[in-house]
Amino acid sequence: MPACKVDHDASPQFSILRNFYRTHGYPSIDDDLAEAFQAIKQNVQANRCRTVPRFSAVLQGFLLHKYRQKNKAAREGARGGWRIYALFDKQNNVLYPIIVYPKKEMTDVPDRQIIDCVGELLKVLEQRHLT
């Protein structure tokens, strides 16, 4: 099992999103993320890790990983849950979480849902930059 170091303080965007969700209906986010990072530290491929395709042009040598984590605050256990995007520095074996959001169950209009989701991420990040 390939272990790795997880640096969850390097990305201010990640901290902003984490704080936002903690105060907006997801008080268990810290516990959920701690559980995820514990598993990922032991195995970088844990939590149904996927290497996200088609981002290499903006990644400057990092790999973009996506992880799933159960959301203790959600009613549905198996479906939904947190999605965590992280930059993986393969050379130094360090993972930098950059984005976290609660995945809702996909409905018939996933494009709309994704635009809304990205819109919410942008709004949270921009608001924080203004303060």
């Binding site: 390097a10 990305s11 201010p12 965007q13 990640f14 149904r48 996927r50 290497t51 996200v52 395709p53 088609r54 981002f55 290499s56 903006v58 990644l59 400057q60 990092f62 973009l64 996506k66 799933r68 198996a78 479906r79 999605r83 995007y85 930059l87 520095d89 930098y96 950059i98 984005i99 995945k103 996909m106 018939d108 996933p110 494009d111 994704i114 635009i115 990205v118 819109g119 991420l121 942008l122 990040l125």
Partner: protein, 148 residues
């Protein structure tokens, strides 16, 4: 062999025969559902394997959008089937539980692939990732300088 049967005996015999016919019909339905679940599960497993990161990396934006439309159609059908009331009933039967769990897992994998593809041609999300790369890179540089 006694060939004289009373009406009651004939009726009881008919009931027994009907019971066996219904039982066999029920068993056949279960067998058919199990085979269909197994075929669907394997078809999805093989299909998801073809959607590797390397293959998806080679797609243009237009190709990614076209493929995603198809994937959404598959996911819509699958989600509709899994959300159907009959599935709640089948899930309670031990023999179907594993198949339904597997199908849900594949639907979730497919949903993540759809999401990743859609995000990959979403310019706002690309900009967020690009910003994050810059901040993480500068944090890395600062840490290296501090260490030196």
């Amino acid at each position: 062999m006694n060939t004289t049967l009373t009406f009651d005996q004939m009726e009881a015999s008919a009931d027994r025969t009907l019971a066996v016919v219904l039982w066999v019909k029920h068993a056949r339905n279960i067998a058919v559902v199990i085979v269909l679940f197994a075929v669907l599960n394997e078809t999805l497993r093989m299909f998801l394997r073809t959607l590797s990161t390397d293959r998806l990396n080679s797609l243009s934006d237009e190709q990614a959008k076209g493929l995603n439309a198809k994937l959404q159609e598959i996911h819509g059908q699958l989600a509709g089937m899994l959300d159907h009331g009959a599935m709640c009933f089948l899930r309670r039967q031990k023999m179907f539980e594993w198949f339904i769990d597997q199908l849900e897992e594949r639907a979730e994998d497919l949903s993540d692939i759809i999401e990743d593809l859609a995000l990959s041609y979403n310019s706002a999300f690309r900009a967020i990732v690009s910003d994050c790369v810059k901040t993480v890179s500068s944090a890395q540089s600062a840490e290296t300088v501090a260490r030196v």
